[in-house]
């Protein structure tokens, strides 16, 4: 297998492995992606401050809870990566199950939140607020869902017994990077979309 | 190659209808001067760099003299690089400074007393607020025609604006559908009409008297000055200017033209008063009350082409659903161009069908043909326009369609709008 490694990683590069570098670059690109979505929201919010009063709708308790859940999932993800590095498959699986579980709770909260908001009259076509809010948080939700799907696949793969710690550590690390990034994006969204409304 | 084409083209006429080379107002002039400055600066760079380039390519060609030795493998010279960068920056500063001045100058009407409507408008009373504002025309873009409102004067026209020479005008740019762009090349470069956005620009045909006198270094009494200024306007400015939408706006973007008729103050006032009064009388000097009484009760008594054209206009052809004719109390549609004094315009269909003689009179035969063509083949003249496709009204929905005779009568009525 040593040849595989030597193919994957060149002779003269940074100290970062290919897959990890790829993930970093992708996340850099994704930063611009979320940056655009969030700034669209903020621009329209500033342009039409009277259009909609989200403080009546937002439930800070629920969102704080889901934020906390996502943070905790990041913590478990870090544990999973570390377990993988040490080759402790069992601990890895336990932690990944935790991440998936927390991710699903977060998604559940978001589905509940969307359903609730729609029931209260905030729809996709409710002014610009509905448009920007749903597209931004929805895109984030899709990112979480993709992450959950990815981790579930990994879990099954490790269950099949084909996973070898020294080979797959880099994949798990990349997934971990992705997961932490999604978490950080949520913290930004939580701050500038939810919290700030209550301060002003 | 390019130089050759340059030579070819230099023989051509640059004083055409929409030429930016013949600037006829301070805005276009500023823009032209800046353009020429960039031409000189880049022309200088072109000659300098291009000259060196040609020299190098010829001088250092492989002489094929059997000398196979490898040329010196020099890697560059930082001092030369820095010097060239410095020179480029210097050349750009030459452009940058007047550019900044130009941006500020062309942005809005000059901030002084003579820009205010009250300082020159002598045709009737203005409200206090209007007098303290610049003269405003609101250009509204539709697919594919222009509405020109004069909010301070309470009048409105379409596709051909009439403006006084030497007066700064603040143009408010609005669009009801997609993005358009107001471009009157001889008078000012373009600014876009963007839905949901309050854009504006300013134009002025010809210089103000003070600016002109300064430029011409005119010395003499006030009266002589005024006469000479009048002469300047007469010689150079009073004219019929051509403009066009410059932002792609759909099918008939190519056919969204407009005109600006630049006239002396007195003619402008006369036009304003006429537009304000509208068509006070129905055809053949009837009052509108009489005409409508007859139209409602004994329409068969209204005979003759013009009467019958107007009957069709108000009735079966549904023209008045969308079009307004000021004075006619029942023709108050707002979806289409205002047709007040339509027959005095030199073109229809947003400048696409023209009937202007060189002496600035209207060629009435061509005009009649244009009316007929437009009503009959509106979708061919301007593909996709609403007159044909209007939902629930317009001749697209007519059953049966207008016959040629009816179209001719409506056209004759339209020709009577003068």
């Amino acid at each position: 297998m040593s040849q595989t490694e030597s193919h994957d990683d060149g002779h003269h590069g940074l100290m970062v492995k290919n897959k990890k570098l790829l993930m970093w670059l992708f996340l850099g690109s994704d930063c611009m992606f979320f940056g655009t979505l969030i700034s669209t929201h903020l621009i329209y919010r500033k342009l039409h401050p009277e259009e909609f009063d989200p403080t009546q709708l937002f439930s800070l308790e629920l969102t704080s809870f889901s934020t906390f859940i996502l943070l905790m999932s990041s913590f478990l993800m870090a544990l999973a990566v570390s377990a993988m590095h040490k080759g402790e498959m069992k601990s890895f699986r336990r932690n990944v199950i935790g991440v998936i579980f927390f991710g699903l709770i977060f998604l559940g909260c978001q589905v509940y939140e969307f359903a609730h908001f729609m029931h209260e009259g905030l729809n996709l076509d409710t002014g610009t607020f509905g448009s920007t809010f749903y597209l931004m948080t929805g895109t984030h939700g899709v990112h979480v869902a993709v992450g959950v799907f990815w981790l579930i696949s990994m879990l099954f793969y490790s269950q099949s017994g084909k996973m070898e710690a020294h080979k797959s550590a880099i994949d798990v690390e990349a997934a971990g990077l992705y997961w932490h990034f999604v978490d950080i994006v949520w913290i930004v969204i939580f701050t500038v979309v939810y919290l700030i409304e209550f301060i002003a | 190659m390019s130089l050759l084409s340059l030579l070819l083209i230099s023989g051509c006429d640059l004083n055409t209808r929409m030429s930016t080379f013949t600037a006829k107002g301070p805005v276009a002039e500023t823009q032209l001067n800046l353009f020429m400055l960039t031409v000189w600066v880049t022309g200088f760079i072109f000659l300098a760099v291009g000259g060196v380039y040609v020299y190098v390519v010829i001088r250092f060609r492989d002489k094929k003299d059997g000398n196979e030795s490898i040329p010196s493998q020099g890697h560059g010279n930082p001092l030369v690089e820095m010097g060239l960068i410095g020179v480029s920056i210097l050349l750009l500063v030459i452009i940058a400074v007047p550019t900044l001045q130009g941006i500020w100058y062309t942005h809005d009407v000059p901030d002084d007393e003579s820009s205010l409507l009250g300082s020159w408008y002598t045709n009737g009373d203005l409200s206090e607020a209007d007098a303290k504002e610049p003269f405003i025309i609101r250009a509204i873009g539709y697919r594919w025609w222009w509405e020109f409102e004069y909010p301070q004067l309470g009048i409105s026209t379409a596709n051909e604006m009439v403006i006084p020479a030497g007066r700064p005008i603040h143009i408010e740019l609005r669009s009801v559908d997609v993005i358009h762009s107001f471009w009157l090349p001889k008078i000012a470069g373009k600014v876009d009409l963007i839905p949901g956005r309050a854009n504006s620009m300013w134009i002025q045909a010809g210089d103000t008297i003070d600016a002109w006198a300064k430029k011409a270094e005119f010395e003499g009494t006030d009266n002589e000055r005024l006469l000479a200024y009048e002469q300047y306007l007469e010689d150079e400015i009073y004219d019929y200017y051509y403009g066009q939408c410059a932002e792609y706006c759909g099918d008939s973007h190519a056919r969204m033209l407009f005109r600006a008729h630049v006239v002396k103050d007195e003619d402008f006032y006369a036009w304003v008063n006429r537009m304000d009064a509208g068509h006070a009388e129905a055809p053949e000097g009837m009052t509108w009350d009489d005409w409508y009484a007859s139209y409602d009760e004994t329409p068969e008594e209204l005979t003759g082409d013009v009467h019958e054209g107007l009957k069709l206009f108000m009735g079966r052809a549904k023209c008045a659903t969308c079009h307004a004719v000021k004075g006619n109390p029942r023709a108050v549609g707002v979806a289409g161009p205002n047709l007040t004094y339509l027959a005095e315009r030199h073109s229809i269909a947003a400048g696409w069908l023209n009937h202007r003689n060189d002496d600035n009179s209207v060629d009435s035969e061509a005009q009649l043909n244009n009316f007929i063509k437009w009503i009959k083949d509106t979708d061919e003249v301007k593909p996709g326009n609403l007159m044909w496709k209007a939902k629930g009204a317009g001749i697209g929905e007519l059953d049966p369609l207008l016959n040629d005779e009816e179209i001719r009568k409506i056209s004759l009525y339209l020709q009577s709008l003068q």
């Binding site: 003269h12 | 823009q31 960068i85």
Partner: protein, 661 residues
């Protein structure tokens, strides 16, 4: 397997190695499509960067001809005033598709063809970092191209009365995009345009995925896969430009991706991002579009600069003048490219301060561009210029690009731009850059590297005629357009009235466009002749400087029998003419060369984009069941990627004989 069906000429000794290999079994237990006897399967499943590059090139050339044909129809329509050769709608579709095709389906993939073929060779690598992602990028590009052009089929069906739109765009019959390549809102709303806009949105979105994945791959490749001794400041300039362009792509494309998603939501779900009625601002589209769009200009032009920076030193037999400054100015151009987007919007009423700022920044970007021109001239200075075909085009490039740059400086003065914006002057400007600059550089690149790519040498002197016809044609076509614009002809108008002084210019432009087209046709003929040429190119036909010339032509599947150790910038030149300590070394690879396995999965995964894109677009046009087709597409993509992950990277070993190199 004693004879090979590919165009690649494989050295017999190595070929035996390939033949000796047993069929590989993937982690899924399926047989991998390696070493296939079937040429078509071989190319469809290839992960070889060289084959992928050639396929990019072939498809891009095809679309170059398509876009060129569209341009010829446009020019023919405009030959005389009030011409009615084609309808307004058809004209609008043609100019929209001409722009879209040339930018996204011709120039970008032509650049990608060079990236793919050359970058691994130039840095002394076996392949890109992620060979399967590379294949995925190629096939996703093909899927996007199909989706974006699908409207032509519907338009044809509509003409024969076989298709009408219902649903949200009922009654509209523009199935080909007709809103301009920058698709300014709100003309892209369902109120004004039909299914064409949906194809355009989906197609661009897919092309975005393709560009993004390719760019990520190239950045990792260039940073991590360099041969020993290939320090960053020893990279060939073309590779540097690839790196910068790839970075531009990954940071600029998200803006258009988001804008397209927002537009799609506006059209499908009635959101209000760009609809004035619901509080949206159409101007937002312009900002998002040009935040992507201006870097896109540099994405198109920097590779051309890279090509020329390779060709000029080779044929002047001198190193590039001011290597570090050329690289640095490329980076500055890329960086500033993000800060000048609003110069496309000088006429939108930005306000004085913003206009002034963007005006000055735009002037600033002329400096690093000028620096490049100085350095090219400096490279020639004191050289021994040999006028081979690549050099002729490179010299033409510098000249024509300079012309385009000058009119660019004229635009940077915002008040002057108010007269030029959206007129034929702008068309003249960017065609001097796009044809006089980018296309000439690409042609130069084709003449330079095609012998390396296929191992055969050019025949005859047709290249001179290609040069004459393209350069003369482009000048006759586009130089008068400067004057047309200044005389007031707006762009994107399907016809014009006589009497405005535009007739003779338009006639000249049209004649010029035919001349240009004939030049491009000759190029195609010359390329075909090169493929049929009997004369072998040899490793280094031009006495060139960079690593790709150190290996055989065409390079073998593993590129280098032994990974080179680089001891100088222009390493291969140093190997030929330099002192002993600068010559190339060799890494000991007695354990054999590891090669990546071929795979079906990249193509399967990207094939899913076709039902996804078409399904979503046709759903908008009111075709039943198209939602399910779109879902099917998603399933295919997910399945393809999952199987891709599960089949494992695989790989096999080759033991080429040393002397074969």
């Amino acid at each position: 397997m004693s004879t090979t069906h590919t165009t690649e000429v494989i050295n017999p000794s190595v070929h035996n190695d390939l033949a000796d290999l047993k069929p590989e079994i993937s982690d899924l237990g399926l047989r991998r499509p390696d070493h296939s006897k079937n040429v078509i399967i071989d190319w469809m499943t290839t992960v070889d960067h060289k084959k992928i590059g050639l396929m990019y090139g072939a498809m891009a050339l095809f679309f170059l001809l398509v876009g060129g044909f569209e341009a010829l129809v446009i020019r023919t329509q405009l030959m005389v005033p009030e011409n009615d050769l084609i309808s307004a709608q058809r004209y609008n579709q043609l100019f929209t598709m001409h722009g879209t095709t040339m930018i996204f389906l011709a120039i970008m993939p032509l650049n990608a063809a060079f990236f793919n073929f050359l970058v691994p060779l130039q840095i002394g690598a076996r392949d890109v970092a992620f060979p399967r992602i590379n294949a995925f990028s190629l096939w996703a590009f093909v899927a996007g191209a199909l989706v974006i052009n699908f409207g032509w089929l519907l338009q044809a069906l509509e003409m024969f009365g076989l298709f009408t739109a219902s649903g949200a765009t009922a009654g509209m019959n523009d199935f080909v995009p007709a809103m301009g390549w920058f698709g300014y809102a709100p003309i892209t709303s369902t109120e004004f345009t039909g299914a064409g806009t949906d194809f355009w949105i989906m197609g661009l979105q897919i092309l975005g995925v393709a560009s993004l994945s390719a760019s990520l791959n190239f950045i990792v490749t260039i940073i991590n896969m360099r041969a020993p001794g290939m320090k960053m400041m020893r990279l060939p300039v073309f590779t540097w430009m690839t790196l910068i362009v790839s970075l531009l792509i990954i940071f600029a494309f998200p803006a258009i991706t988001v804008a397209l998603i927002q537009l799609m939501f506006d059209r499908v779900f009635g959101t209000n991002f760009f609809s004035v009625g619901g509080g949206g601002q159409p101007i937002l589209w312009q900002h998002l579009f040009w935040i992507f769009g201006h870097p896109e200009v540099y994405i198109l032009v920097l590779p051309a600069m890279g090509i020329v920076s390779e060709v000029l030193p080779t044929f002047a037999r001198k190193p590039l003048f001011g290597y570090a400054i050329v690289v640095f100015s490329g980076a500055v151009i890329g960086f500033l490219g993000f800060a000048v987007w609003s110069h496309h919007m000088f006429t939108t009423g930005l306000g004085k301060i913003a206009t002034a700022a963007f005006s000055l920044l735009t002037m600033a970007i002329a400096v690093p561009t000028g620096v490049k021109i100085f350095n090219w001239v400096g490279t020639l200075w004191g050289g021994q210029i040999r006028f081979h075909a690549p050099m002729i085009f490179a010299i033409g490039f510098v000249w024509m690009f300079m012309m385009g740059g000058f009119s660019g400086i004229m635009h940077s003065s915002a008040p002057a731009d108010a007269q030029q914006q959206d007129s034929y002057f702008v068309i003249a400007h960017f065609h001097y850059v796009a044809i006089g600059g980018i296309l000439l550089a690409i042609v130069s690149g084709i003449y330079y590297w095609l012998p390396k790519m296929i191992g055969k040498m050019w025949q005859g002197n047709l290249n001179i005629w290609v040069g004459i016809f393209t350069v003369v044609g482009l000048n006759i076509t586009f130089f008068p357009m400067h004057f047309l614009g200044l005389l007031g002809q707006p762009r994107r108008t399907h016809t014009y009235l006589s009497g405005f002084g535009w007739e003779s210019y338009n006639m000249v432009c049209t004649i010029g466009s035919y001349i240009l087209a004939f030049g491009v046709l000759l190029l195609v003929v010359d390329i075909v002749r090169c493929f049929r040429s009997k004369q072998l190119a040899g490793n280094d036909p031009w006495d060139a400087r960079t690593l790709e010339w150190a290996t055989s032509s065409p390079p073998k599947v593993y590129n280098f029998a032994a990974t080179p150790i680089v001891n100088a910038r222009d390493g291969f030149w140093a190997d030929k003419y330099g002192p002993e300590n600068r010559k190339l070394g060799e890494v000991d690879e007695s354990h054999g060369i590891h090669m990546p396995s071929q795979s079906w999965m990249p193509m399967i995964a990207s094939a899913g984009f076709i039902p996804l894109g078409l399904g979503l677009s046709l759903m908008q046009a009111g075709v039943p069941f198209m939602g399910y087709v779109a879902i099917l597409g998603l399933v295919i993509i997910a399945l393809g990627i999952s199987l891709w992950a599960l089949e494992g990277p695989g790989g096999y070993h080759l033991h080429p004989k040393k002397e074969s190199n």
